[in-house]
C-alpha cells in the first residue's frame, strides 16, 4: 500500500475489489453473523486462488506476488478487506506464512496447502490473562525421544476454531521456539471465544501432553527471535492497512451524509462546528495513510527501522481510528448507533484491532524504548 501503485498493483487492486464487492459485501457479513459463522471455507479457497495467500511466499516455495513486492501487495489486499470489513483468515494465514517462509525446511507441504487455501493456520502466541508479548511463553516444549511434547494454554487465537494447524510459541529449555502443531493432534482442545467483530471468532487452545515430531519446529533457536519479530511486523501492518481501508470507506459515506442531510434548511456540511470536526478527521486519516505506507515500505524493504516504524504506525492508526469512527457516529446522529446502520460493523473491527497485538499505549512505550536505544547508539 504505497502512495504510487504500479500498473500490476492497480489491476490486482481492482480484481480484489471486484471479488470483494461480489462475494463479501456488508450484507454477507451480516448474514454470516446471523448464522453464527465466521467465514465460508469455499470462499476463502477462491480468495486464495486470486493469490491472497501466496504474496509473502517466494516462487520457489509455490508463491509469488503481483508487483514483486509481496508485502505491499498484501497490504493492498488488507486495505480492500477493510473497506467491507470482509470475513476470512487473511490475517492469521499471512502471519503464519510470514514466519514459515523465513525457515521453510520441512514445512513445504504446510506452506503449499496454506497458499492453496486448503489449510488455515493461526499464530498461537497470546496466553490467558497476559498481555501481548511474543518474546515470552509459559507454554512449554519438552524434548522427547521422537520430537517434542507441548504443554500449556494459548488464547485469543484468531480463527482458532477453524484452523487446521497452529503456530505455537513455547519455552524449550529456557529458549523460545515455534512449532507447527496440527489442530487434530491428540491433547489439543479448542474452545471458541467470541469477539466484538461481527465475523471474527477467536479460540482458547489447550495443549495437554501434545506429542509432535522433531520436524514440527520452525527455524533454529538463533533464528527464532527474528522470525517472531517478522511475524509481529506483518501482523501490525495488516491491522494498519485494514484500518486505513475502514477509514476511507467510513469517511467517504460520512462526507456524502454531511452533504445530503439538511437541518434548519441547510446541509450539515455548512455548519462550522461540524466542518471543523470533520477537517480533523480528514487530517488524521491522511496521517494514518502516511504512517501505514511508511511501515509497509520498511517491512517490505526489511529496514533496520522496521520494528520502530510498525510500532509508530500501529500506535497512531489504532489510536486515531476509533476516535474518527466515533466522530462519524456523532455526525450521523441517532442512526449511527442503530443495528441497521453499517457504522458499527466498522467500529467493531477497529475496536478489536486497537487492542490486539499491543494497544497504542503499549506501542507508545515500545517507541520510547526504541528511541532511547537509538540515542544510546548515537551517544
Amino acid at each position: 500500500m504505497t502512495d504510487v501503485a504500479n500498473p500490476e498493483q492497480m489491476l490486482f487492486a481492482s480484481t480484489t475489489q471486484a471479488f470483494l464487492d461480489k462475494e463479501a459485501p456488508l450484507t454477507r457479513v451480516r448474514d454470516l453473523h446471523a448464522a453464527d459463522e465466521s467465514y465460508d471455507p469455499g470462499w476463502w479457497q477462491r480468495a486464495a486462488e486470486l493469490g491472497w495467500a501466496s504474496l509473502l511466499v517466494p516462487e520457489e516455495l509455490g508463491g509469488g506476488s503481483v508487483s514483486g513486492d509481496g508485502v505491499a501487495d498484501l497490504a493492498l489486499v488488507a486495505e480492500q478487506v477493510g473497506r467491507s470489513v470482509a470475513p476470512g483468515p487473511l490475517h492469521p494465514v499471512s502471519v503464519v506464512l510470514a514466519g514459515l517462509v523465513e525457515a521453510p525446511e520441512g514445512h513445504g507441504d504446510t506452506i503449499e496447502a496454506l497458499v492453496a487455501g486448503e489449510l488455515v493456520a493461526s499464530w498461537a502466541v497470546y496466553e490467558p490473562g497476559r498481555p501481548f508479548d511474543p518474546t515470552a511463553s509459559a507454554t512449554t516444549a519438552t524434548q522427547t525421544a521422537s520430537g517434542y511434547r507441548i504443554d500449556g494454554v494459548k488464547d485469543r487465537v484468531e480463527a482458532g476454531d477453524r484452523a487446521g494447524a497452529l503456530l505455537v510459541t513455547a519455552n524449550c529449555d529456557g529458549t523460545l521456539r515455534q512449532f507447527v502443531v496440527p489442530a487434530d493432534t491428540a491433547g489439543v482442545t479448542v474452545t471458541p471465544q467470541r469477539s466484538l467483530d461481527m465475523v471474527k471468532i477467536y479460540a482458547r487452545v489447550q495443549f495437554d501432553g501434545v506429542e509432535i515430531g522433531s520436524d514440527a519446529v520452525v527455524g533454529s533457536a538463533e533464528q527464532t527471535p527474528a522470525i517472531i519479530e517478522r511475524q509481529r511486523q506483518v501482523a501490525l501492518i495488516l491491522q494498519c492497512a485494514e484500518l486505513v481501508g475502514i477509514l476511507d470507506t467510513v469517511l467517504g459515506f460520512t462526507t456524502q451524509w454531511l452533504t445530503d442531510r439538511h437541518s434548519f434548511g441547510r446541509p450539515l456540511s455548512s455548519y462550522q462546528a461540524l466542518k471543523h470536526r470533520f477537517a480533523n478527521d480528514k487530517m488524521w486519516f491522511e496521517a494514518a495513510r502516511a504512517t501505514t505506507a511508511g511501515a509497509v515500505a520498511a517491512v517490505a524493504g526489511r529496514s533496520p527501522d522496521a520494528p520502530k516504524l510498525v510500532s509508530i504506525a500501529k500506535a497512531y492508526v489504532a489510536e486515531r481510528t476509533p476516535v474518527i469512527l466515533q466522530d462519524c457516529v456523532q455526525l450521523h446522529g441517532g442512526i449511527g448507533v442503530t443495528w441497521e446502520h453499517d457504522l458499527h460493523l466498522f467500529l467493531r473491527r477497529a475496536a478489536l484491532y486497537r487492542a490486539m497485538f499491543g494497544s497504542p499505549e503499549d506501542h507508545y512505550r515500545t517507541v520510547y524504548e526504541l528511541s532511547r536505544k537509538q540515542e544510546d547508539v548515537h551517544a
Binding site: E286, R365, Y368
Partner: protein, 423 residues
Amino acid sequence: MTETVTTATEVGEMPESVTEFAARARTWLAENMTRIDPDNPPFFVRAEQSSWDRATEMQRKLHAGGFAGICFPREYGGLGLDLAYQQAFDAECRTYEMPLILNVPSFTICAATILDMGSEQQKRDRISAAIRGEEILCQLLSEPSGGSDLAGVITRADRQGDKWIINGAKTWSTSAFAADYGLMLARTDWNVPKHEGLTMFLVPLNSPGITMRRIKEVNGNEEFCEEFFDGLELGDDAVVGEVNGGWAVASRQLHHERRAVGGGSEFASGRGAENASEMPPDYMAIAEATGQSDEPRVQELAGRALVHREVKEQLIQHVSTSIATGALPPNAGTLIRLFHADTTELEVDTALAIAGTAGVIDETGDGGVFDVGVRYLSRQTGSLGGGSSEMARNVIAERILGFPRELAADRGVPFNQVKRGRQ
C-alpha cells in the same frame, strides 16, 4: 545583465551534473563554511541584530563561492538550476552553519513573490541584492485591526499627484527590524469589494514616515515588529503587480508561505532547525533530569508524542507526493500546517507534564528543564502564526472536502459599507 558569479556550469559546454555540483559543493563547504552538529545546531536568535549580521555575512560568502540563489534565474542573480541541485546542496550543507533565517520570509516568500509578480526592475534590484547578502526582505501584511481577515486591511494608500501617500499600521511583521524592504498591502480603492481595492507596495524600510517598534512576546522574544505609517511617500515604481491587483500578489505570498512552512520551497537553502527553541523537546533528557527515566507513565506520555512527531514527517512526505500525483489538491498543504500546530501543542504539553515542578520552578538554577515552562507560555504561536488553526480547518473543509463556504457578510459589498466594529 546583472552581475553574476562564474560557476562551473558556465565553464564547460556540458551542463554540470547534480553529482558533480554536489561534489564541488562538498569541497567548497569544507574549505569555507563552519562545521556544526546538525542535532545541536548553533543558537540563532532572530530577535538579535547580530544573528542577521552573521546570516548576511554567510550569504555573501555563499554568493562569492557560487552557491547562492541556486533555483533563482540567472538574470536575477541566481544560478538558474532546478530543484535537484538545491536538494543535493541541502544534503551537503547539513553539517555546516547556514544562514537559515534568511529562508523565511526573505527568500522563500518575498523574493519568490517578487519573482512571480514584480516588475523587471524590482526583480533585478531586490532579488539579486538578497542573493548577494546585501538586503533582507520582509512582509507587512497583518494589521492591529484584524488577523485572519487579511483582505480587510485598512492601511490606506492615497494618490497625490504622482505619489502614493501611506497612512496606517502593520503588525506581526517577522524580523522587520532587520529587513531593508517590505511587501506592504494597502487599500487604494474603498468603493469596491474588499479584494478588489488592494495594492501591494515594495517599501524601503528606512524611509521617512515609518516608525517601527518591537513586539515583546510572553516568552520575552522580540522578533516581531509593528510599523506605523504617517504620510509615507512612495512612487509608482514601488507598486508590485497591478494597482488594485494587490490581492493576487498577496495570494502568491500565502501560496509561497504554505510551501515554505511545509518544507517544500525550492528557494530555501539548507533545511536544519534554526535554533534550539525550534528543536522538539528531548523527553529522555527531561525524564533523566527529573529522575523519572523508568516511570512507565512518563514513557507512555513521551512515546505518544514521539509517535506523533514521526507521523508528522511521514504526513509531509505523503501530502507532497499526493499533491504531485493529483491524489490531493494543492491546498492539501494545509493538512501539514494544521498537523504541525496540533503536534506542537501535544509536544509542549507533554514536556510540561513530564517536567512537573521543574518546569515551573528553576530547581537546579541552570534553566535546563525550566525552559520547558517558559516555552509553554507561547504554546499557541504555532496555532496562530501564518493563519490560525481555525482558518486551516475551514480551508480543509471547504477546499479539500468541498463543503460550503462560511458566510462572509462582506462578500461583494463595497469596502466602505462593510461593518468594521468599534474603531
